[in-house]
């Protein structure tokens, strides 16, 4: 099925989300839709999926004009969408989730025909190598598998065009590779795939054609062979972007953070951090790579005082670090939490209030119990300028800002005071190229001012770009620490998968299969 959008324009009050966007997706093609957050990708796909009516322009399927007044029409026309946030009923089995909404029933009393649905689920998943247990309860499945259930759902509804909205945002590198294999398999059977993303590597790796959107308009369409990361980034952002962080060599000083023999147990008593040692010196960045769910979050929580360690010692410049977030804050530790919206910000609060979220209790923002509104506003005004936070006003709710600007709010709050240690978990997750560049520059600037920096990231690009030393964490331990020169993607990937530093390449296969499982609880909670 050939899909064509011709001159789509969609306006919202005060905003033109899409302006004259034209796009052709051929059968058996992976068409990447690349653009920064807010470039209009999602709006365009919502138009295609019948959620919005375009103000101008038309949609053609196999060269015939169609009109969708709701997702039902789009689905009937053979368009399937896998949303970034899954639409699954956790307590249902895979089969039940897949048949939900298109149930077939058996006479005489309309009993659900589960066996038939199950057979089709098995057949679809075998045809495309999806490896799904039709009887598993969705709640028990890791994120990567849930995504496959969503894909099966669309195929079950006979979709010929599959829209994947930021499908890799929630996946581990291994799961991402598996997804790409599935996409290729679908492509071979003639399914057209629209792959929405802002990750350049992925686009170059998997797409047949690439359309770049910027500010609601198509900037250009190209193919991976004709373009490069640099060119795509420039198209997305509208200027040249530095993809590698330009930075002088680290000049490590005294050790700032010392973690000795740390043990942190999760609720089930399992040692999430298992007798871990690490040291971060002033003026250096230690980057911790690892598949999510190998104890990184617990390590960060222990250092920042959110979790009480079960054993071991955490010292900041020789002094034991208190197990209380406020004391840790006072000791000069900045924390960029893993989940912006869950931990870092209160989305209903204004930008100004979020900028004093952990300092509201002290001068100049408070005297006694009284908050000093003027001081808070003044602080916000200067930080918004200094950190280039794009917000209509400092009184806007932080929840209404883009992800990049939200992260800037956190960076502004954490970096704008005297600090000796930065602990940053997934500091650029879900951000667009421009914002990633910005956050990276800020972190390096802090390092050069003499702060010790600990970065936890599951993005290999980031780990390699930032780390002066790169430690790989696996099952609660640091399995090896590499210099940037030693840290090839291949070597890091192996270590992340659990290969022993001295082992050869052959360990990879087994490890890759085992690794994704622990990630499930992580992205869920």
């Amino acid at each position: 099925m050939k899909l064509e959008l011709r001159g789509i324009t969609k306006r919202f009050p005060g905003v033109v989300a899409n302006e004259g966007v034209s796009l052709v997706v051929q059968p058996g093609e992976i068409h990447a839709l690349l653009g920064e957050n807010g470039a209009g990708k999602t709006t365009l796909m919502n138009v295609l999926y019948g959620l919005y009516q375009p103000d101008e322009g038309e949609i053609f399927i196999d060269d015939l004009p169609v009109q969708f007044s709701g997702p039902g029409d789009a689905i009937a026309a053979g368009i399937g969408m896998v949303h970034q946030h899954f639409m699954l009923v956790p307590v249902f089995t895979v089969t039940e989730n897949v048949m939900l909404g298109v149930e077939t029933t058996l006479p005489p009393f309309g009993r659900l025909d589960r066996p038939a649905a199950r057979r089709r689920v098995v057949e679809i998943s075998e045809r495309h190598g999806l490896r799904i247990d039709p009887d598993a309860v969705v709640d028990d499945l890791p994120v990567g598998v849930r995504q496959r259930v969503e894909i099966v759902k669309t195929l079950y509804r006979w979709s010929d065009v599959l829209i994947l909205d930021e499908p890799t945002a929630v996946l581990t590198p291994q799961e991402t590779d598996e997804l790409f294999e599935i996409m290729h398999s679908l492509e071979e059977t003639g399914t057209a795939i629209v792959f929405i993303t802002h990750k350049l590597n992925e686009v170059l790796e998997v797409a047949d054609r690439i359309t770049v959107l910027r500010r609601g308009k198509v900037v250009g369409t190209t193919t991976p062979a004709e373009t490069s990361r640099e060119e795509l980034a420039a198209m997305m952002v509208g200027r040249n972007v530095q993809l590698t962080v330009d930075r002088p060599l680290a000049k490590p000083g005294d050790s700032v953070l010392e973690v000795r023999d740390l043990v942190v147990r999760d609720e089930r008593g399992h040692a999430a951090v298992d007798h871990l040692d690490l040291t971060v010196r002033a003026g250096e960045i230690l980057a911790i790579a690892g598949v999510q769910g190998n104890g990184q979050s617990e390590l960060v929580e222990a250092i920042t005082g959110l979790t009480e360690p079960d054993a071991g010692d955490i010292r900041l410049s020789g002094k034991a670090l208190a197990e209380n977030p406020r004391e840790v804050y006072r000791a000069g530790v900045a924390h960029v939490p893993e989940d912006r919206m869950e931990d870092g910000l209160i989305s209903e609060f204004t930008v100004a209030d979020n900028l004093v979220l952990n300092s509201y209790w002290r001068a100049p923002f408070a005297s006694g119990m009284r908050l000093d509104g003027d001081a808070i506003v003044e602080n916000a005004d200067s930080l918004v300028t200094e950190f280039d936070i794009r917000t209509p006003s400092i009184f806007n709710s932080v929840g209404n800002l883009s992800g990049g600007n939200q992260q800037k709010v956190i960076a502004a709050r954490e970096f704008s005071r005297p600090i000796s240690l930065i602990v940053a978990a997934q500091p650029t997750r879900g951000l667009d190229v421009g914002s990633i560049e910005y956050i990276h520059r800020r972190i390096v600037a802090k390092r050069d001012e003499g702060a010790a920096v600990l970065i936890v990231s599951s993005e290999l690009d980031e780990v390699v770009a930032l780390g002066d030393r790169i430690a790989v964490m696996f099952q609660g331990r640091i399995v090896d620490t590499l210099t940037p020169e030693e840290a090839t993607f291949e070597r890091l990937g192996l270590l992340m998968g659990g290969a022993h530093p001295e082992d050869g390449v052959q360990v990879a296969a087994g490890a890759a299969g085992a690794a994704p499982a622990p990630a499930a609880g992580e992205t869920d909670g």
Partner: protein, 421 residues
């Protein structure tokens, strides 16, 4: 694949994946805040009018014989009912002005009577409404204002009769503070249980209502509290020095309303101008982020429940010390539960709570005169009250009726979680 024919256009709630710029200023936003409640009120009264007509069988009979007369009669029935409601809750301004100009103080007092009744009913509702609203801001559902009110009234009445010979400016504050303390104690228990064990405050506070009610019944039969020579559960009478004086001699409305308004101001300051309020609201919106920022969730929970309980306790103190001066079981017609509604109708804002409490006070005060003057059953007032709550608590309903577009932002928030960008 055949082309899909254009189908009926279905209304879809729209949103931009970028933030829609706020075209409206703060003034407009404030107007919006007033328009919806007013429309809700109007709608409730319109629906109420139909109910008044439909429940009058004499009128219904008339429709068959003489529809024109029936319309006229219906109109006058509705007008006189609502007129009586208004007269019973606010009074007649002309009468008041006339009495003022002729320096007829007795007349002034009589003219102020309905307003005084409204104030009497609104006073405890402001306190309990603030209690529920404050806890709600911290993410806690305080269903226990009724029990806290009872404890507050018990403490206040004991403090009121136990001290003899104190001057009023010492005794009255002590009695009022005792009321706060009693309620605070009853708020502290669910607060502590929630903070320490995670016991859900809804269940604990509901159950503590029963405990409080029956604890009072028991206490009223002990020698300490029970009035001498009585066998029924009724307390001793508070000393005159612990009585809240009336606003004007001869009126039932007392200075408790001023205390209530001051309490609203204090709650506003606490929530929006103090460090504690910053913590309260942060914990209420996002406990995880609050913890990350170094706030203590346990401490906020306990402190807010203690304050909420104290506010409800003040309601009890105000009713007892400003009214009969004595405590008997079941003296509260459900002020604590009405407080939940008042808090929600007032959008958990102190000013909103005050407005909602006055509205409910007026409806309650106007009910009896309405029944007396027109014979409309008092149940109709309850029906109208329920309608007001329904329309106010469900702004979507009012928006749908009057086709007011929801604020773009609301849609964006709701949708953003589903679709991402």
């Amino acid at each position: 694949m055949p082309p899909v024919p254009p189908l009926r256009r279905r209304p879809v709630r729209l949103m931009a994946d970028t933030v829609a710029p706020r075209s409206s200023s703060r003034v407009l936003a404030a107007l919006r805040g007033v328009v919806l409640p007013l429309l809700a009120l109007l709608t409730a009264f319109v629906v109420g009018a139909f109910i008044i007509v439909l429940t009058d069988f004499e009128l219904l009979g008339m429709w068959g014989s003489d529809p024109l007369a029936a319309i006229g009669a219906s109109w006058s029935a509705v007008a006189s009912t609502y007129g009586a409601l208004l007269g019973g809750s606010i009074g007649d301004p002309g009468q008041l002005l006339g009495a003022l100009f002729s320096l007829d103080w007795e007349g002034v007092r009589r003219a102020l009577g309905p307003l005084s009744e409204t104030i009497i009913s609104a006073t405890p509702l402001i306190f309990t409404g603030l209690s529920v609203a404050l806890a709600f801001r911290v993410g806690l559902f305080n269903i226990g204002a009724e029990g806290q009110l009872y404890l507050g009234s018990l403490f206040a009445v004991i403090a009121g009769f136990a001290f003899v010979g104190l001057p009023w400016f010492i005794h009255l504050p002590i009695a009022i503070a005792a009321g706060f303390l009693g309620g605070a104690l009853w708020g502290f228990i669910p607060g502590l249980l929630k903070a320490r064990t995670g016991a859900h405050e809804v269940i604990v506070t509901i159950m503590l209502n029963f405990v409080a009610y029956n604890l009072i019944n028991w206490a009223l039969k002990t020698d300490l509290v029970q009035r001498e020579g009585r066998s029924d559960p009724i307390s001793k009478i508070v000393e005159p020095s612990a009585v809240i004086p009336p606003l004007l001699s001869g009126l039932r409305a007392h200075w408790g309303i001023v205390l209530a308004l001051l309490a609203a101001l204090a709650v506003w300051w606490l929530l929006f101008r103090s460090t504690k309020g910053f913590e309260f609201r942060a914990v209420g919106f996002n406990p995880r982020a609050a913890r990350y920022a170094g706030m203590s969730i346990s401490w906020s929970t306990v402190l807010s429940m203690v304050t909420a309980g104290g506010l409800a306790g003040l309601a009890g103190a105000a009713v007892i010390l400003g009214g009969s001066g004595t405590l008997s079981p079941g003296f509260s017609p459900g002020y604590g539960f009405d407080g939940i509604v008042v808090a929600l109708v007032g959008a958990t804002k102190p000013a909103g709570v005050v407005a909602a409490a006055f509205l409910f006070g007026a409806l309650r005060a106007g009910a009896t005169p309405m029944q007396a003057a027109t014979g409309t059953p008092i149940d109709i007032v309850v029906v109208i009250q329920a309608l007001v709550i329904m329309f106010m608590a469900a702004p979507a309903l009012v928006r749908a009726i009057y086709r007011i577009r929801a604020e773009q932002r609301v849609g964006a928030e709701g949708f953003a979680k589903g679709w991402g960008s």
